[in-house]
Amino acid sequence: MSGANPDTMRITLKVWRQKDTDAAGSFKTYYLHDVSPDMSFLEMLDVLNDRLIQTGDEPVAFDHDCREGICGMCSLVINGQAHGGDAGTTVCQLHMRRFADGQTIHVEPWRANAFPVVRDLVVDRSAFDRIMAAGGFISVHTGSAPDANAIPIPQETAEQAMDAAACIGCGACVAACPNSAAMLFVSAKVSHLGRLPQGKAEKDRRVVAMVQAMDAEGFGNCTNHFECEAACPKEISVENIATMNREFLVASFRSRDLG
């Protein structure tokens, strides 16, 4: 927190710069003297990039899109914490007033083998897309819109499914996990789709396929530190991971697929 509520803040940034996936990266230090406490973290990076462009330097590449915490694009590890230190927020919702005047801030990309750095702070999260393609969907004939409440769903079930569906697929769970595991992400999808009547039909096939796809991407294993839950901007519960473990076990025995 800024002490004397100054009009502008001085910030020292140590930003990870990496030319491409195969290049070796390193931290580069930037000094900003005119940071407004009301800027979001991404706006502060915009200011830095404006300056870099003016001086003919290469701007810092970072992912962002909606800037209102729902798209899941922004993905920075700030001082060792995915999305910064605030609970239940993404980087775009983090404001500079949360830092002290004169503070040094380390900015790193998500770090996991399954998320290779594309450039600077941008990582390739297509591993998540491949997991989704393996089973993160419901196969139904869409047709015209069905009647509302034609399929009764208990309130509690709907709430639980909605809580899991809040996952924006940003990958903070992987970034925060000491083992780079993707369990929270995959379990949120398994739990979201498997709880609802429309998704139940493919429940067994889905959980097995998604776990196999997750393993194939080289994510780590879960050791129940629950750092993912603490870092998740949508506060997805690790209870979903237990649900996925259970469903995976049951599906493995129940499925008639002998492979």
């Binding site: 083998n113 780079s180 129940n224 629950f226 473990n245 469903e247």
Partner: protein, 222 residues
């Protein structure tokens, strides 16, 4: 024929479930072990403990099977732990320059590999040097236990080892339930308490033996 089972168990979740089940089995073994040890407190001359040991041995081949089974569970737990730890290390080749945990990971959860390895070192001394493979122990069980544990160096080693075992259980017991899919808003707070209780009960319970024989035992040490 059982390819499906192999595939399921060798997956990330399968390995965790095996870790959990072997771990919980070992906790059951610890419970049996500490109950057996309580016979040491029953009388001064160690008759109860010697009888207990003879009763176990009277099972003959069944005891051998149990011992081999126990060894296999230990081995599986250790081999899987190493495999998981190695895979988890591999999953992030480029480490973070700055790392800040958010308060969910604990000293116990982050040190499972270290505490587990130290327990293994302890087991080597406990099983191979001190008791199971020590011929003196089989000739005079209770006397050997008391003599071994009354030595200050041994007693210190045993108490430290039990503290480390407690730390291992503090994460392991609760974690095992999450891994096998037992989580519910009503169950989770109970598991938190049970995890701590199990860790403290076993660490303190087992540590009472070396402490007792070091400080309070007067029954004619060598």
């Amino acid at each position: 024929m059982l390819r499906w089972l192999g595939n399921a168990l060798s997956s990330s979740i399968g390995k965790k479930i095996l870790m959990a089940l072997t771990g919980l089995f070992l906790v059951v073994f610890l419970a049996e072990h500490i109950l057996g040890n309580l016979t040491l407190y029953k009388d001064a001359d160690g008759t109860a403990f010697n009888d207990y040991k003879h009763t176990l041995e009277s099972f003959g081949p069944l005891l051998k099977v149990a011992e081999i089974g126990l060894f296999a569970v230990f081995a599986a737990h250790i081999v899987l732990a190493l495999k998981l730890a190695l895979e988890n290390r591999e999953a992030r080749k480029q480490k973070y320059a700055v790392r800040a945990h958010r308060g969910k990971a604990t000293a116990a959860s982050l040190s499972m590999l270290i505490t587990g390895s130290l327990v293994l070192v302890y087991l080597f001394k406990h099983v191979v040097i001190d008791f199971r493979f020590n011929s003196a122990y089989h000739e005079a069980p209770a006397a050997t236990v008391k003599e071994t544990l009354s030595k200050p160096s041994n007693a210190t080693f045993y108490v430290l080892a039990m503290a480390i075992l407690g730390l291992h259980l503090a994460h392991g017991f609760r974690s095992a339930f999450q891994s096998i899919g037992a989580s519910h808003p009503k169950l989770d707070p109970l598991l938190e308490i049970a995890g701590t209780a199990v860790a403290v009960l076993f660490a303190v319970g087992f540590a009472t033996f070396p402490i007792y024989f070091l400080f309070f035992w007067t029954g004619g040490a060598s």
